[in-house]
Subunit: 654 residues, 2 copies
């Protein structure tokens, strides 16, 4: 029922905690002994020197100081030598050599890489090796060889639906680099906001952003910040749909009569760009020219998703154009739009990427496809000669467990049937963080730590699929990632404390640890009519997508050894007692009121759990109750039902 | 045994949580009803307008948004009107009018102040009023009148012994303003580091700072940052002692032959400035001239503490000078030094402040005294016509409980006997955060939340002394202060997780909640030979000076109602079981090894606690064991003994 590797990982807690590496390197050969990490630690580039590498070593050293609490006194003798054979390219580039080897011995460590990209990755691996040991901090001796499976390993962040200030982007770039991701796909415009300063079309940010946009200087700063961390920035301006914020500023671009205003709700809106007028292309040519001067990456994302065609079909002028050009309805019209757009981007030496809706027989094969509606479109595109990446299965905003995403492979499903030369068109994948239900305060906890598991899928060998091993390492990596600055753990306590106005309220924390937030498509937004101006300050916003403590209890319930039983009894007792303490807090408290039934259910689960441990009588309708409790309440899942179900099923099986 | 006000505070959790005001205003008259705080909230200056006030309102609104999670949409109709009658002075100034009145009604709120200082304070009070209620966030209707008891309410931060980066200073200024403190005393030089850029004497920072110093631009930024928050910055350059970092750069200033190097340990070093040579005064004149161009405050701190005179007494040339000028040994020589220094500062229109060692019959009465060695010197100075402030009793680095500091009154002790005109010389007090045993990571948890209790002592009427009321409000204020950015709570979890290298380790958290860190003079540094280059990454650095959870248990043990018994039993059970889980974690872990006996003692306390609750047999040597356990171990106090002692004493009394 449980796999040996978990037992090993848990048993290993009985001696010095082993390092948790994520993504797992291609080859890890432990050697005897360990390297002491103390105040005399220093790292130095001993091969080519390069300001980018030196800055990376400084950042690495500063973070290792935070991670250990050690004060490095700046020794001249490097404990870690970084031998980079060549500088590599000026910008992070698709397909560049990202490999490295790392040798740690008691006498010192050597990181070798053919180019800077690999050196950056090796520094992250070294950080993960450093753990407390018998003599202080240490890195176990080891020989590591490593290189990525896929060259395109990305995260998309939507800065439009909720505004993401610059520091959100920066800290997430730091954390991305920590797990060896190399593409930041930036969704910069959508119905809810146009987030970029245009000097040619300033009304875009003046009327389309509520004042929340990145200046060109800030955009260039982020491009450099990412480059320094080995990350490419792929900008997306989603057209011709998802463009209400453009139309609020320039209604003359629209497929119907305006005026328009910024979207405050979400979904698919009818008004889109008018693909039949030359002015549209003149505008886009000028705008894209401006943006390509800011974003140097050779790939440029044009969106292209969710155009329902209604506006085009109800405009006689557009219908006439479609007929005249013998286009196949709205699909054909969008293909026509994409063809003209491709020519513009070609002029600026950019390769087009689009969401899988752009796939059409008329689409140039140079266009790259990002599959989100399923993995069939990815295989289809690859078979037709398009290069592509997978995002279906990696939608972080659905708030599914890490194991769900971990099981999705860019080369899985229909792609597994492709001939090798076609399969080679599949470059990797991208996790997507859509921002309907996240704010700058909550976005980190929706990205991390689950993205680290996805990063492993993109980097590590295909055979690395052990879920229990992944979870036992993810728990450590989640804490380690805090040293990068992401706030997925840091914001949890304050958001819970806010629910009682700062009054100490342990019962709220007990409840929060037992629930999981539901995401888009999983229960979020059902029964609540959201707008982008609503507060995201409820339990569902503070709660994690996946409860680490419930997972531990579920494992304990499966295993059932004496220590597990103590743990389960302790927690069930707390649950059973918690409701009596919780209900008074929820009186006259609008934020806690919706949790009253959830808290009652938790007490029920605690009581039943104790009965199951005691082998005493359990309610005859337990199955029905568990089924009911598993359903969403207050946009939450009461995850606590899972260990109870394990025990109940085991009791039945006897 | 317990006071009604605590019961009230705890009972009040049974309905909407009441606001916690700290410092308590002079007058608080609750009125019926409440003002709703929702997305339409806006605050606006309706009296004089002033960029400083407008910036304060923007900061207040942004923090209220964080505190509530609400997105304020920028309504034009202010819900809170801020009527400031006059702009007040350009800089925060000693003795300016800091009063305000605040009226909250269901229809809106009005904050009135004669000048900006009071308006800033009133905004903080308003923030503290906002709590979750039946309809969402609300502020209860109230009429508040408020003004400070003392005009000088300060915090001193030592940036020398450990380097405190700019963001540490900024966030602590924000938190100081939140509890209405108005003086930031900045200890900028000491043996361990000279932290200021001098353009006239650049070797000071080049050779005296290890590269850790504030540029003049940064210093000016902090002066402005503080001024915007109603806080004066009083710079301290400690002379003639505590000057190794000066002498490392300019050995020619020394009272003996060099060379000298930056202090890596602490205490009193013999080498000090040579007060007999004109060059010393020429240097100081030039340096002070440079610094007064940066720090506009009319007060300037010259330190003057802990000069042991040994170096002067062993230098024949200095001895000859002392004889020649008929000076009374080293004390007289220091008085001579202070007199010449006073003339220099007079030239720059500055009033001198010194630590109480500077008190001497020859000292000009214009010199202000900061008493730290006891409160007798303050009364003595005040009687002689010196103005003074109290720091004795407010040494945060001693890590004493908030109640200890709360009981110290600037007008208590010998000062209580002063005639009113002499007592008026006592302007207030300053808490001191000396930095021998703190880093930028730990300093916040040594300042907060205890400083809020001291701030109440300085601001609120003398009669406000109820300790239980203070603690019940402090628990809320501690969490509220997080929204200002101070990291006293945020750094706790990551520092604990570091002890296991990020492996989830609940037993370490259980132990950490049960212990308290010991400060200077209380156990820290006994048996461990510290240097300023050592890591501050142990349990004693993560642990809090005062355990909130143990305090709750102690109250529960005193009270003993049924809910309390459940709480106590739950916690004692956890303590009793914790050691078995903790010991394996501590194997081969240098950071946890020292905690093994502490963890064993916690298990013992848990077991005894359960026996006491069960009225079963308790160990015959319990008293001796509790006495032993109360002693420092690993520079910690196992606070958990306190509730056990309460129960044991009660059992004995029966």
């Amino acid at each position: 029922m449980f796999r040996p590797i978990v037992l090993m990982a848990l048993a290993s807690l009985a001696c010095a905690a082993p390092p948790a590496l994520m993504p797992l390197p291609v080859r890890v050969d432990p050697r005897p002994g360990y390297l002491v990490i103390d105040g005399a630690f220093a790292a130095k580039a001993t091969g080519v020197t390069d300001p980018r590498l030196n800055a990376a070593i400084r950042r690495f050293t500063a973070r290792l100081s935070r991670q250990t609490g050690l004060l490095f006194t700046g020794s001249d003798v490097p404990v870690l030598k970084v031998e980079c054979a060549a500088r590599g390219l000026e910008n992070a580039t698709l397909g560049e050599d990202e490999s490295y080897t790392l040798d740690v011995a008691p006498s010192g460590a050597v990181l070798k890489a053919p180019a800077i990209a690999g050196a950056l990755h090796g520094l992250e691996t070294f950080s993960q090796l450093v753990v407390p040991g018998a003599a202080g901090f240490e890195a176990g001796a080891v020989h590591i060889e490593d290189r990525p499976r896929f060259p395109w390993r990305g995260l998309m962040i939507d800065s439009s639906r909720h505004w993401m200030p610059l520091d959100v982007i920066e800290r997430n770039l730091d954390a991305m680099a920590a797990v060896k991701l190399n593409v930041f796909h930036w969704h910069l415009s959508d119905d809810q906001g146009f987030r970029v300063e245009s000097k040619r079309f300033p009304k875009l940010q003046e009327l389309g952003s509520d004042g929340h946009y990145y200046t060109q200087e800030e955009l260039r700063h982020i491009v450099g910040y990412a480059r320094d961390r080995g990350i490419r920035v792929v900008a997306e301006f989603d057209i011709p749909g998802h463009t209400l914020s453009w139309l609020a500023a320039y209604p003359e671009l629209a497929s119907e009569a305006g005026p328009f205003s910024i979207g405050r709700t979400w979904g698919i809106f009818d008004p889109v760009l008018d693909p039949t007028r030359d002015q549209t292309y003149e505008f886009l040519d000028s705008f894209i020219g401006e943006m390509t001067s800011i974003f140097p990456d050779p790939y440029f994302h044009i969106g292209g998703d969710e155009v329902n065609g209604k506006s085009w079909d109800s405009n006689p002028r557009i219908l006439a154009f479609t007929r005249e050009h013998k286009l196949d309805g709205p699909k054909g019209l969008q293909a026509y739009f994409n063809q003209r757009l491709s020519k513009i981007l070609e002029k600026y030496h950019r390769t087009v990427i689009g969401w899988d809706e752009v796939l059409h027989p008329d689409l140039p094969t140079a266009t790259m496809i990002q599959s989100w509606r399923g993995n069939a479109s990815l295989a289809e595109a690859a078979a037709k000669g398009h290069r592509g990446i997978l995002s279906w299965g990696y939608y972080l905003d659905h708030l599914r467990p890490a194991s769900y995403h971990y099981a999705v492979d860019p080369l899985g499903g229909p792609a597994a049937q492709l001939a090798p030369d076609k399969a080679a068109n599949i470059l990797g994948g991208e996790a997507c963080m859509w921002a309907e239900y996240v704010s700058s305060e909550t976005v980190d906890s929706r990205i991390w730590p689950r993205l680290a598991a996805i990063a492993e899928r993109f980097w590590s060998p295909k055979e690395v699929t052990d879920v229990d091993s992944m979870y036992s390492r993810l728990a450590v990596i989640s804490r380690w990632l805090e040293w990068t600055g992401v706030r997925h753990r840091a914001n949890y306590g304050p958001m819970l404390d806010r629910l009682t106005g700062g009054h100490p309220a342990e019962p709220v924390h007990v409840l929060a640890d037992a629930v999981e937030a539901l995401g888009l498509g999983q229960g979020r937004g059902r029964g609540v009519k959201y707008t982008s101006l609503m507060a995201l300050n409820r339990m569902v916003d503070a709660a994690r997508p996946e409860s680490e403590s419930v997972r531990v209890l579920e494992l304990a319930a499966r295993r059932g050894n004496p220590a597990d039983l103590i743990l389960l009894r302790d927690e069930f007792t707390r649950w059973a007692a918690n409701d009596a303490l919780f209900q008074p807090l929820a009186e006259d408290n609008a934020l806690l009121a919706e949790l009253k039934p959830v808290s009652k259910d938790l007490a029920y689960l605690g009581t039943v759990g104790l009965a199951l441990l005691n082998h005493s009588a359990i309610p005859s309708d337990l199955d029905a109750q568990l089924t009911r409790i598993a359903r969403p309440q207050a946009e939450l899942r009461l995850a606590a039902f899972r260990p109870i179900k394990v025990l109940a099923d085991a009791a039945k099986a006897k």
